[in-house]
């Protein structure tokens, strides 16, 4: 099985598999029909292993894991849960597991999970048992960093990134809270939000309290970070600490608001965004009902529109933060899933698009597995 796109939806998980030329796609599933699936992620260190973040309307949040490429799943024995509070402390309970990230190549079996309300969790046994990362969850500043400002799905901890050069170096993002960095495997954390706008805050130059929608780290050039924020698209080249607003170079009538941001896995200067309408009432739909992907091939200095094959008018979907990804083919494939349950694919780096699945439930995540 060469390629699989895992589709996490509000009502279950689906898998899309292509023929060798990525022309025709077959859909399999649903698995876990009726469950809310936020993320399905393959372990690149052991590709047969996958983890899935799930909950249902009534029941508590959990994680399912597979060690046969998603044919069979079993529930984590100890899903992510905050530590039991002591007398007088404010009790915290995981409402949903929102994000999953496999750990460093040198640490097989390690996974990280992000939850709502914002919590960071770690498993050392492929996802069977999860422990709270106390360095973040009990950091003295944590109640301020994650002040309980909710998106519709809660206060989300997402975009956990492990530096491929150094297992101790981690990034994460909280929506709403900002981007944070640790250099000691999560024991201590510091905000990393300089230069990022926070138009919705009384003081827009605050150190944290921002609303990153998606944060990525380039696998081959790990000092290169991109961020799609509630207030624009940004790039940061470490060790610098000040984010550059690359969205300024987007056409003014398009703007630089959206949820996902995806980089070319072999070229850190190539990055795609999917602009959404961020005007006064935040419709968060494709601009003017004409969806388009924008690509920059020079790290955000200029952008080109890619809308061939996408609907020309009256298409009002939203694409959520986990719902866009790239594969690793020589001619890179790009994919995104919409809140209306359509999956769109490009097998020419975004130049042209086709719909490869429709009528699915609201799509939360689209991830690529080998």
């Amino acid at each position: 099985m060469a390629n699989t796109l895992w589709i996490g939806t509000r009502k279950g998980a689906f898998a899309l598999r292509p023929d060798a030329r990525r022309r025709s796609w077959k859909i399999a599933g649903p698995q876990f029909l009726g469950h809310i699936i936020h993320h399905v992620v393959q372990d690149p260190r052991e590709p047969r292993r996958l983890a899935m973040a799930a909950k249902t309307g009534h029941l508590g949040p959990t994680v399912y894991i597979s060690d046969d490429r998603g044919r069979k799943w079993r529930e984590a024995l100890a899903p992510p849960a905050f530590r039991k509070v002591s007398e007088g402390e404010k009790p915290r309970a995981v409402e949903r597991v929102f994000w999953l990230t496999p750990g460093h190549a040198s640490e097989p079996g390690v996974w990280y999970a992000g939850t709502a309300p914002a919590g960071l969790f770690r498993s050392a046994d492929h996802g069977d048992h999860w422990e709270p990362v106390a360095g973040f969850n009990d950091h003295p500043m944590q109640p301020k960093w994650a002040a309980g400002l909710r998106t519709p799905d809660g206060e989300l901890l997402h975009s956990i990134r492990v530096d491929p050069r150094d297992a101790r170096h981690l990034y994460l993002a909280i929506s709403i809270g900002g981007v944070f960095e640790s250099t000691d495997r999560g024991a201590d954390w510091a905000p990393l939000n300089e230069g990022v706008a926070a138009d919705f805050m009384p003081d827009p130059t605050v150190a944290f309290g921002h609303d990153p929608h998606c944060l990525i780290q380039h696998p081959l050039q790990p000092d290169r970070l991109y961020q799609q924020n509630h207030c624009g698209s940004y790039r940061l080249d470490r060790p610098a600490r000040r984010w550059i607003r690359i969205g300024e170079r987007m056409p003014k009538n398009i703007g630089d608001v959206g949820f996902p941001i995806v980089a070319h896995p072999r070229d850190a200067d190539t990055v795609w965004v999917l602009p959404m309408d961020g005007s006064s009432v935040w419709p968060r739909t494709a601009l003017g009902g004409k969806p388009a992907v924008y690509v920059s091939r020079n790290a955000g200095k200029s952008w080109q529109r890619q809308d061939k094959g996408l609907p020309r008018a009256q298409a009002w979907f939203t694409v959520l933060r986990q719902a866009m990804c790239a594969d690793s083919a020589a001619r890179l494939g790009l994919y995104f899933g919409t809140t209306q349950g359509e999956v769109w694919a490009s097998s020419d780096e975004g130049d042209s698009w086709r719909c490869i699945a429709r009528h699915l439930p609201e799509i939360y995540s689209v991830t690529h597995a080998h």
Binding site: G57, H58, L59, G60, P91, V94
Partner: protein
């Protein structure tokens, strides 16, 4: 032994059974025993701070359970109730 009535969303854990048996002298003990037989089921109903989740209610016979420490008599029936939403 007490009879426990299981709502449909939790029947994945009971092999589809709508009623199961569990023993215990308190609600907490019964839940622990349920989890021993049906691993993972308790956490879907009770959060890590031992609070019943928002869409679940537990009743002993007709009486609502306000604390997991409440005593359960040998013939009491435990009802796990899930909020329904269909119309």
């Amino acid at each position: 032994m007490n009879t426990v009535r299981v709502p449909s969303p939790l029947r994945d854990y009971t092999g589809g059974a709508a009623r199961i048996s569990a023993s215990g002298t308190t609600v907490a003990e019964i839940l622990a025993n349920i989890d021993r037989d049906h691993r993972g089921m308790r956490f879907r109903m009770i959060d890590e701070q031992d609070r019943v989740r928002p869409h679940i209610r537990i009743f002993i016979n007709q009486r609502e359970v306000l604390s997991l420490d409440e005593a359960v008599a040998p013939r009491d029936e435990i009802h796990l109730i899930c909020a329904l939403s269909g119309g």
